[in-house]
Symmetry: C2
Subunit: 471 residues, 2 copies
Amino acid sequence: MKKPQSGIIPEDRLGIATDLYQLTMANGYLAMGKEKEIATFDLFVRNLPKNRSYLVVAGLEQALHYLTNVRFTEEDVELLKQKPDFKNTDEKFWDYLRNFKFTGDVWAMPEGTIAFGNEPLMTVTAPIIEAQIAETYLLTCYNHQTKIASKTARCVEAAKGRAVLEFGMRRTDIGASARAARAAYVGGAIGSSNVVAEALFGVPSFGTHAHSWVMSFDSEEEAFAAYFKVYGEHTVALVDTYDTLEGVLTAAKLPGEIKGIRLDSGDLVALSKEARKILDENRSKNCKIFASNDLDEYKIEDLLSKGGQVDIFGVGTMMTLSADEPALGGVYKLAELVRDGVAIPKLKLSKEKCTYPGKKQVYRKYNDLGEFEYDIIALRGELDKQKKLYEKYDDAGRLEALLVPMIEKGKLVYGLPELWEIRDRTICNIKDLPDKYRRTKADHSYRVDISPKLDALTKKTAAKYGGVKKC
Amino acid sequence: MKKPQSGIIPEDRLGIATDLYQLTMANGYLAMGKEKEIATFDLFVRNLPKNRSYLVVAGLEQALHYLTNVRFTEEDVELLKQKPDFKNTDEKFWDYLRNFKFTGDVWAMPEGTIAFGNEPLMTVTAPIIEAQIAETYLLTCYNHQTKIASKTARCVEAAKGRAVLEFGMRRTDIGASARAARAAYVGGAIGSSNVVAEALFGVPSFGTHAHSWVMSFDSEEEAFAAYFKVYGEHTVALVDTYDTLEGVLTAAKLPGEIKGIRLDSGDLVALSKEARKILDENRSKNCKIFASNDLDEYKIEDLLSKGGQVDIFGVGTMMTLSADEPALGGVYKLAELVRDGVAIPKLKLSKEKCTYPGKKQVYRKYNDLGEFEYDIIALRGELDKQKKLYEKYDDAGRLEALLVPMIEKGKLVYGLPELWEIRDRTICNIKDLPDKYRRTKADHSYRVDISPKLDALTKKTAAKYGGVKKC
């Protein structure tokens, strides 16, 4: 009998965790003798999503894990050999895969950095086959986690200092869920309902009981009393299985004060105000009000503006799936090719999909209050500290280079921060973001300059391929 | 130095791949002596998403894998022991987890079944702790895959017999991507770009080259010629790196006819018509036109209605993330509890979130043309073949029971179909769906009845908990 499959990707088969065209191209590059050409790819988001004013970078650690661990197994080779595309493939390619390792250099923004459109979040410089095969996996890391971290940061802002918990595990794929909880934590959530995310990443997990707990007893009184008997002050009573306000009163009359009650349906503004009153009148002033039910930054903002009395927001579906912006369009584009020691800048000219050539750095200019002033996408080294141009930009306020070396010749050279350190970094960075970008209504006016040298290189390269008319 | 983590869930740690509250409840049930109570939970989608007329059931195989493999490791126990919630927890619970196995019964709709709102896709009957812990993982399976299979079926319908390929790997989480490719195949796609989905599930993988291939050569001519040299008639040339129609001509003038060209930007209607003309005029009548670029069922329908000359659609982001309906709201609700041999029907009455009690079956009535006529949610056995009620419904056209036994006493009793068989099932089922539900514009008028006995039980149970006024 056929055995059911989990579909969990084995850790030793990361090589084939990619689009087939990466492997057909890999074989093509090898067959054409291009394996020694050194490519530089930029990973970036062209335009910010309509409802986002900034991105919170997340997914780097998993990208670095991939680059330092990716291999092909003999099983992978056998699978590929059976595909019609590879029927004339030389054994040289299979040996290449058998010995595959990533040997290149990677620069990237640390996780928790705030980024904007067109800014490389990562640049990969490696023999073209290695850099090419990595494309898909790297994009999955960033497109998933940066999307969720960016959405979470907005929910956290809307909550104005109240806690946000990630509750969306059940709405996403099981594998996606652990990395979603991680990304939400990076974005400023205080934790998640997801237990395996605590095991894998150290994301604090939270949770008490569901409606089924209440329904499994003959009455709500009995259900709350039982939970209190087992968990005492750790109890958070879900009060809306039958009648919400009666549920609040039942919770408030437990023999000791509990941590909180949770509202999960109905008019959260009215119910939370009534609940607060009932709790306060029943010796439960410290009992917190948790709220959930399809919340997002828009609903949190609305609820608080109407005086909703909520202390902790459980945010699931809308945040975990970034439902108002379900796709982050991170791309990975060839920017330079070094052939026989000569660097050839590369760009793509097709309509609305133009790219910038060359090896880049992103600089952030802060004003003298320490707030973000504007960013500059430049050529790497163009604004080095010892150079005149640096001084020009740096005259009032700090200039920060956002891309830092992560991998050199295939070896990790970056001291990975703990996850809570990344979360702190996000929170500090958002504090330095001018107010208008922190609002729920998105603002796309943040200035991102193209440096003089990058601009000149772009024009020169475009001219070579038929002009910039379409850019 | 800290090592980067992949976040891939180890196969032996599926037990903690759940929400924390499932485990706090589990401990609570055990502490209250409820471990012998037998619960029945229904997994269902309350209301169809606004833009969906039906669901294509997918995710069952992974749910069955979970139920027949879920265990807790000693590491899991250690992790939980350190959480404040569990500080007073009895060793009995840790032993319970150490010996945990799912021992219950599961009925479910086979994958590829068409389902509607409120219909249980799966019912789980097991000791309450086991059924409770499973909730989150089971929901992740269905909410992810059924969402994508349902979206894909719409894209396939819109393509009117042309092929649809799943291209969205890079836009989703890496773990989600393999199960997304599987779901898209179940929904009728002919395959995916995702190689690891072929290894894990047998989803056929497809792909040729990207813009970076073209950009890595000094000219497009050189790039196409090189690809053709390696892959010959398997070549699909991506023609829009510089000037699309020039690219088409370059591809058409290769020394032999190729499999296809791919358009990935610009006005696909106009470009595909022009491309077809160029190909036909250049001895490439059999050369197919592939199109991609943020396609979905709406864009495919529009493109074909305007005479676009596309043979194969590469559909990524919008399908893989189900971007117009990014969340499927599958839930898992307690419907019955057996305590000391007595069955107690259960329901939830909170506003807009009411449920139906009892152990259920879903029957589908076909008309005499073999088309779906309506469905009946009933109590299990209520419409058994030998009963009068069955005959009444079955008088003209077939009556089909959709939920079938999958697991008995923890053992798999269902012969798992091959993935291509599931895909065939979907295609046949959709053929039997009346036309109005197969259109891009959603129609929610499909009739789903509540059987006489289920209706009576619902009213009786609701009355016990304060009436049906809110339902």
